[in-house]
Symmetry: C2
Subunit: 426 residues, 2 copies
Amino acid sequence: MARDAALRAAILQSVEDGFAEQVAYTQKLVSFASQRGEEFAVQDFIFNDLKARGMAMDRFAMDEAALTAHEGGAPFSATHSRAPIVVGIHHPRQETGRSLILQHHLDVVPVGPRDMWEHDPYGGEIVGDWMYGRGAGDMKAGAAANVYALAALKRIGLQPAGTVYLQSVVEEELTGNGALQTFLRGYTAQAALIPEPEDEKLVRSCVGVLWFSVEVRGIPVHVREMGAGANAIDAAWRLIGALREVEARWNAEAPQHPECAGVEKPINMNIGLIEGGDWGSSVPAWCRFQVRVSIYPGQKAKEKFQELVDHAMAFARTDGFLAQNPPVLMQNGFNAEGYILAPSEAEDVLAGAHEAAFAAPLESFCTAAYLDARVYALYNRIPTLCYGPKSKGIHGFDEAVSLSSVKRVTQTMALFIAEWCGTEPI
Amino acid sequence: MARDAALRAAILQSVEDGFAEQVAYTQKLVSFASQRGEEFAVQDFIFNDLKARGMAMDRFAMDEAALTAHEGGAPFSATHSRAPIVVGIHHPRQETGRSLILQHHLDVVPVGPRDMWEHDPYGGEIVGDWMYGRGAGDMKAGAAANVYALAALKRIGLQPAGTVYLQSVVEEELTGNGALQTFLRGYTAQAALIPEPEDEKLVRSCVGVLWFSVEVRGIPVHVREMGAGANAIDAAWRLIGALREVEARWNAEAPQHPECAGVEKPINMNIGLIEGGDWGSSVPAWCRFQVRVSIYPGQKAKEKFQELVDHAMAFARTDGFLAQNPPVLMQNGFNAEGYILAPSEAEDVLAGAHEAAFAAPLESFCTAAYLDARVYALYNRIPTLCYGPKSKGIHGFDEAVSLSSVKRVTQTMALFIAEWCGTEPI
């Protein structure tokens, strides 16, 4: 909580005063179609913007060799983003306070079929309390909140009394390599705050996430000889059934993971993509599908992937077709372990700030989604607070963020920064 | 059988004498990558070649309005071929014999993953008795046999004493509209012979074939909310299960279709293509798949398609997800009925010719594949003889045709033409 009631009130009012500008800034971020590999423009925009705001700037590429050598690094596929990572640095005149990382990602997931959207995916339209657009919630509103929490202090003549790194990354949606690169670059601080759309709650624990592709190949023949050939699409489906056995087994282990209590189904296996076959009248010779599965906090990514491979191969040996044509499982994205947030002074400060902004206690929960927060929690080993606004339709159609929620979250953040870092006059 | 033993021997020897040239001609046809929509060059090649051989030439486009208005016509999709249909016409000086249609198609199915081929798909390589290549069997060897059966007569100073239409069509692999266009153009004759790769046998009966796409759409959400969203790939798979119930029911009706006796599974439903989803970490919002299914000879294509639609919709109403998001089934290819070949004098003549070439009786069988022959059998209502060489890997990898089989089939065909049409000196 801000150090005195007058300062607290001034900060809350300053966020209020800057909010129209913050909304426009959020719309500007949403207007960039920053899908994977296409984040150059939005990263340049924020680079120039943070520079204009007076931050010292660092911009650097992801280092494939270093990332893939790291236990939390994900493989580089052909479509891996080459967009730069941007860090804006605030140094106080006197380093009297605590340092802080404010992080966000500006990559967004694909839009999907346009005709399923009622709103322009890049329009940032506002209807009532909601701003619509791909990334509005996940997490361009959070990115704008990082910028405008600092701007709110500046508006009343203050700046943090500790170093603040404002880290704008990419590759959050597929590998988490962007966040890991900030760690490999050597950046760290005494705490990290990441305003992902977390429904105004604090993430207490977070699952790990694995991505891998599965490919089945066989012998195509004319459909008149279906007995002789083997249908790779059918075989792929049997293999999916086998992988779902692992999913069920892992979910049955939930009682051993009390950090996930309250999550109905902590382990989700998603077949997010499938494609197979070349021709309707040929028995399909190949089928590929993409799997995303979560693992419990504390579990090792490599070990859990191997468990899936072993189960798939054991099943394949029992299957007439797959025994002759063993499937190929290959990691092609997240290789990320989960984390549990330990109690910390940083959390206490956030809780106080939240209570001041919302007049309600801060709740925490276990999320079944990947978070870049794992980098700071697992490798920087610092208190990592993932906390942000209400949203709807994340990764879906008509994604939107609640503007009233964004305002209060930004108030929480500004109060948190003032309390955690301390303030000094500009 | 040719009218006397000396003529018969001369014809057999003439095919033998021309066979090296026929093999080279077949390789030339195989060298054209004449996949759907890409048959222009090969159709121009055969147009020029038949013209050079002295035939009167007709070349015409497929008429979408007329084809789709016909009960056996298939819908035109965006990828429907626009390549022309080519007919070479031989008129005898005196129309003393019977007329004949010799037909083939020059479109081929896709190659599929190249690395699954040991041989160049367009190389026409010969290893032992086999010539390899996409379309070598289906049916460029047959096309060359049409040309070289006539050439064998010419080599010994003879030509058919009845009109012969040598029809080179496209769209056999997806719609059968090319063959239907020759009927709509008004061509007919007293018999038709189509040298499809039929393992040196005569097709006694042939199933009908339906092609249709199925599309499922739903609401995508972040995978962390899988309970809220619905996985379109999973829903598509449940729908495939429902369609397979129809397949099983139809196969159970096999005893009512004695023309298909001996075929282990006359009704084959093939899911030849599947695609769905946009992103591994989103619950997939859509899934499309392509279905090819056969129907018994004598059954109406429209009625059987409706039966599939009705079953799919009845199932959808019982499914939590599909009831809210009804699937869309749409015909997008074959809308073809099967046929049964009645005994005829044409068949007797073919049987005699086959016995002379092979020293073995002609066998007949029921095929579970689509054949253009259905056009001539159902709409021209003429004896339609589908008969051709041994092949392997049709629609698969390393497709090949047996050259010794092609030679004997060409001998059968030359003898058949001489006997059916009669001959006159050039």
